[in-house]
């Protein structure tokens, strides 16, 4: 990538001091990038990606997680997850394949929509129309082992079936190549989901680092979904461990679903919207002590995350106390 392409003229020096908080942050980044470039020019070395690229942070919609994702010194408006980066999501067992994929789609969509809102001011509420297509890269093994994405089911995640481009490479080298190409292209994908199994050598620290850099440069969010993945080092900005969570059907989603009868006796038997137990295992610059599993729900109607249970020290899959916890959060 030509290093000089993305640098604007430093007219932001002339901007008024009373800029908004968000603007101040991005201006600061721009100024830093500009100064970096001038220093590089004086020192006669090539401009590296770190010099020119800034982290774009977007909120994922849950205040508690957003505050943990970004380091403490940042302002509230700049809190959230890094959009132009590689994020890793892993599930441990094959039967959790859909949970991992569902969380990856929700996360990708949330990031993509927040990014769009931040950059253009447009909102992509229901449906993903203003957004670029979503790319899903999965080889044949992954598809047969964990199932294909199913168009009618994708609707709940805000993705029209036509807007999901499915790419099925022959082998892992091709998978990596395709991922690299998409990651390097600006604006082609609203986000790219790479699905692989385990920890092949093609997706080691070096290659994930390369993907990370490309994502940083192009601004395309990349999500690496590892099926049967272990807790291993990679260059991703965050790593999430997703496991299933029993769905909760008494919340707002359930009300939408079965009307106004909030206390229907049969309600507890129904299956609620997608729910996940999410453990943020790795996050650059965040406090490791705070990382305990959350129980998160995806609201298909409003297309946003909702926190069902506050983090507890012991990861628990039983939702005996969840209802009380949820009642608190929704109160």
């Amino acid at each position: 990538m030509p290093a000089h392409a993305a640098i604007p003229v430093p007219d932001f020096f002339r901007r008024s001091q009373s800029a908004q908080n968000v603007m101040a942050k991005s201006d600061a980044d721009k100024i830093r990038a500009y100064l970096n470039r001038s220093i590089a020019g004086i020192e006669k070395r090539t401009v590296t990606l770190q010099d020119i690229q800034t982290q774009i942070r977007v909120p994922i919609g849950i205040a508690e997680i957003d505050s943990i994702l970004s380091s403490s010194r940042q302002t509230t408006a700049a809190q959230g997850i890094i959009a132009n980066a590689l994020h890793e999501i892993r599930v441990e067992r094959g039967l959790e394949a859909a949970n991992g994929a569902g969380f990856a789609l929700c996360m990708g969509l949330t990031i993509a929509r927040a990014l769009l809102r931040k950059q253009t001011g447009k909102t992509a509420h229901l449906g993903i129309k203003p957004l670029a297509p979503v790319f899903w890269i999965a080889d044949d093994f992954t598809r047969s082992e964990y199932g294909d994405f199913y168009g009618p089911g994708l609707k709940a995640y805000g993705i029209a079936p036509e807007n999901l481009i499915r790419i099925h490479p022959k082998n892992r080298e091709e998978t990596l190549w395709v991922a690299g190409e998409i990651a390097a292209t600006r604006g082609a994908a609203s986000f790219c989901l790479i699905e692989i199994r385990g920890h092949p050598k093609e997706f080691d620290l070096t290659t994930t680092r390369r993907l990370m850099l490309r994502a940083q440069a192009s601004g395309t969010p990349i999500i690496l979904l590892r099926q049967s993945g272990q807790e291993e080092a990679s260059a991703a900005a965050t790593r999430w461990h997703v496991s299933p969570a029993s769905s909760c059907n008494t919340g707002r989603n359930a009300r939408n679903k079965i009307g106004k009868h909030q206390t229907h006796p049969l309600m507890h038997q129904f299956i609620g919207p997608p729910a996940f137990t999410v453990h943020l295992e790795k996050c650059r610059g965040a406090n490791a002590n705070q990382m305990t599993p959350w129980k998160i729900e995806w609201n298909p109607h409003d297309q946003c995350f909702a926190l069902l249970a506050k983090p507890s020290r012991s990861p628990s899959r039983h939702n005996g106390s969840d209802h009380q916890a949820r009642a608190k959060t929704h109160a």
Partner: protein, 582 residues
């Protein structure tokens, strides 16, 4: 790879004991390293007016089946080796014709032994007991002929396989406008025939203004003279004197017609053309006169080229064969630059490219790459083919190198200069170029989008369409996003996986099931949703399915179904897992 025929094995580096001409490029004064931008000759458009100017080269391969065997047994250039060629034994190819095994093809040695095609095998064996007899393999011969036709693409894009008569192998080349690249049409024909000879084929050729005349002359004019010579007729006026002494079979008539005419004492074309036309037509039908007129040039005859004629092409003939990928890429880029200039002049952009690589030993590779929108940037074209090379790796054998490389535009669209809009077209450019690169590398069929179908059957509810065929309509509303449903899974297995399930009541949902060797206990159930097959669509409809949404004690959600109904459908309904919810 569009064509990977087992055409020609590699030539030996030094043909041993060669007395004849050696395979050296210097032998023919070829215009080496000459870059020509050839606009393809118009296939038919102006044929009516420019009849005089069309030139056809007919190639006849009389001993193709036996040559094929000789090439396999010895080496490809066995004809160059005088010793080997002399020691060649009489060889015949036989096939079952009308319940008798008869001779179909003979090599030159067998022809000298007073054997002829159509003779029965027993007669031939009685006369020459130690003759080589081979079974006819029409498929292999046809494959070889196709490969030769591919090879002939280097001379002209209009190469047709001659189907005039069965078991007669030949090619018809329209060399109009191509001859000057090879130093004239005589030089072209000489070069082509010499190269065929070097590759171990006996071939005769003829140049004429009509395909019919070329066909007749290539087969009958120099029958007893040496092979690999070429006859030539300049204009339509010269056709009649040249053909008049030839037998009637030269008109591509059926054997029945020939023998019927022979009974009237008509044996040569000259005699036939002197006859009054009306009685002939009444007695034998229009066929004979039609063929005669075609040969004489009174009726237009079009040949049907094997490959679509490129709209534009640029090619480079190289002094030294190249085999490195970077070299090929460089040449491709240079060709692409020439093409893009030509396209700019015409105001078009290409949607489909083809790269033809002619290997030294006669094998031809065709690589194709498509774009999702009209392109004429040489950088982009080169990049597309770079991905194409990368995807081939193993199938792509450069062997002794490529001597000619040609880049064609197979289909194009109007492309105005600097056609950009104010609304973020640079972004669209990058996206469409990305899609083209991906398609070139991993194949168009491996990049799909989904499209919802109006059906209840879960398997057919979504159809996969190639991503490049998807046309985005800007006014397409997100109407189907309104009915957000949670009743369909996120992931669906192409084939439902059989599970063991225990239900509390026969028609009820399962309380426990085993999938992939793990036992799951059901905690929440929704269903059943009964989905029947389309009874009107198939003769044997599938059994009705009852789908259940299930959540187990660990919080995983599944889409199960029971195939068949108790008491009505089958005795033992089976359970399947069809999909997974998040």
């Amino acid at each position: 790879m569009t064509n990977a025929l087992p055409f020609l094995p590699n030539l030996p580096d030094h043909p041993q004991g060669t007395t004849g001409p050696t395979i050296k490029r210097e032998q023919k004064p070829m215009p080496d390293a000459e870059l020509e931008l050839v606009s393809a000759p118009p296939a038919k458009a102006e044929s009516a007016t420019s009849k005089e100017t069309r030139r056809y080269l007919a190639i006849h391969l009389p001993t193709l089946p036996t040559d094929r065997i000789s090439r396999l047994q010895g080496n490809a250039c066995w004809r160059l080796n005088a010793k080997q060629a002399d020691q060649e034994r009489p060889r015949i190819v036989v096939a079952k014709i009308k319940n008798a095994i008869r001779l179909v093809h003979l090599n030159e040695q067998a022809t000298q032994l007073s054997l002829s095609a159509g003779m029965s095998l027993t007669d031939a064996k009685a006369a020459y007991p130690d003759i080589d007899v081979l079974q006819q393999d029409r498929e292999a011969d046809q494959l070889l002929l196709n490969a030769i036709a591919d090879w002939c693409d280097r001379y002209t894009p209009l190469v047709a396989i001659d189907h005039a008569m069965q078991d007669h192998y030949g090619l018809m080349l329209d060399i109009t406008g191509c001859a000057h690249l090879f130093g004239g049409e005589a030089a072209l024909a000489k070069d082509l025939l010499a190269r065929l000879f070097h590759q171990g084929f006996a071939a005769t050729g003829a140049l004429a203004p009509t395909p019919g005349a070329a066909w007749a002359l290539s087969r009958f004019k120099n029958k007893n003279s040496d092979y690999n010579g070429c006859v030539k007729i300049k204009t339509v006026k010269d056709i009649e004197p040249a053909l008049s002494s030839l037998p009637l079979a030269a008109l591509r008539l059926t054997t029945d017609s020939v023998s019927a005419l022979a009974r009237l004492g008509l044996r040569s074309i000259g005699q036939l053309s002197l006859q009054p036309r009306a009685p002939l037509a009444r007695r034998f039908g229009r066929e004979i006169l039609y063929k005669l007129d075609q040969a004489m040039g009174a009726i237009e005859e079009a040949i049907s080229p094997r490959r679509p004629v490129a709209e534009l092409m640029a090619e480079r003939r190289l002094a030294e064969p190249i085999s490195l990928e970077t070299d090929i890429e460089q040449v491709t880029q240079r060709l692409a630059r020439h093409l893009s200039e030509a396209m700019e002049r015409k105001g078009i952009g290409a949607r489909q490219f083809q790269l033809c690589l002619f290997r030294v030993d006669g094998r031809t590779f065709y690589l194709e790459a498509g774009t999702s929108r009209a392109e004429r940037d040489s950088q982009i074209i080169t990049r597309l083919f770079r991905e194409r090379f990368a995807s081939l790796q193993d199938d792509f054998d450069a062997g002794y190198g490529f001597e000619t490389i040609r880049l064609c535009v197979l289909s194009s669209e109007r492309l105005e200069l600097n056609e950009t809009s104010f609304l973020g077209s640079a972004k669209d450019d990058e996206a469409s170029q990305l899609m083209d690169r991906l398609a070139a590398r991993i194949g168009v069929e491996n990049i799909t989008r989904g499209s919802l179908e109006n059906t209840h059957l879960p398997e057919s509810a979504e159809r996969k369409i190639p991503a490049n065929q998807y046309i985005e309509r800007p006014d397409q509303a997100d109407d189907h996003m309104d009915d957000i449903t949670l009743t369909r899974p996120l992931r669906l297995f192409a084939l439902p996986e059989a599970i063991d399930a225990i239900a509390s009541v026969p028609d009820g949902p399962p309380i426990r099931f085993r999938w992939r060797k793990i036992l799951h206990t059901v905690t929440k159930v929704e269903g059943p949703e009964r989905i029947s097959d389309q009874w009107w669509a198939k003769p044997f409809p599938r059994q009705t399915r009852d789908y259940f949404r299930i959540e187990d004690d660990q919080g995983c959600r599944y889409w199960l179904f029971r195939e068949g109904l108790y008491e009505r459908g089958t005795d033992r309904p089976k359970w399947f897992l069809h999909g997974l919810f998040a």
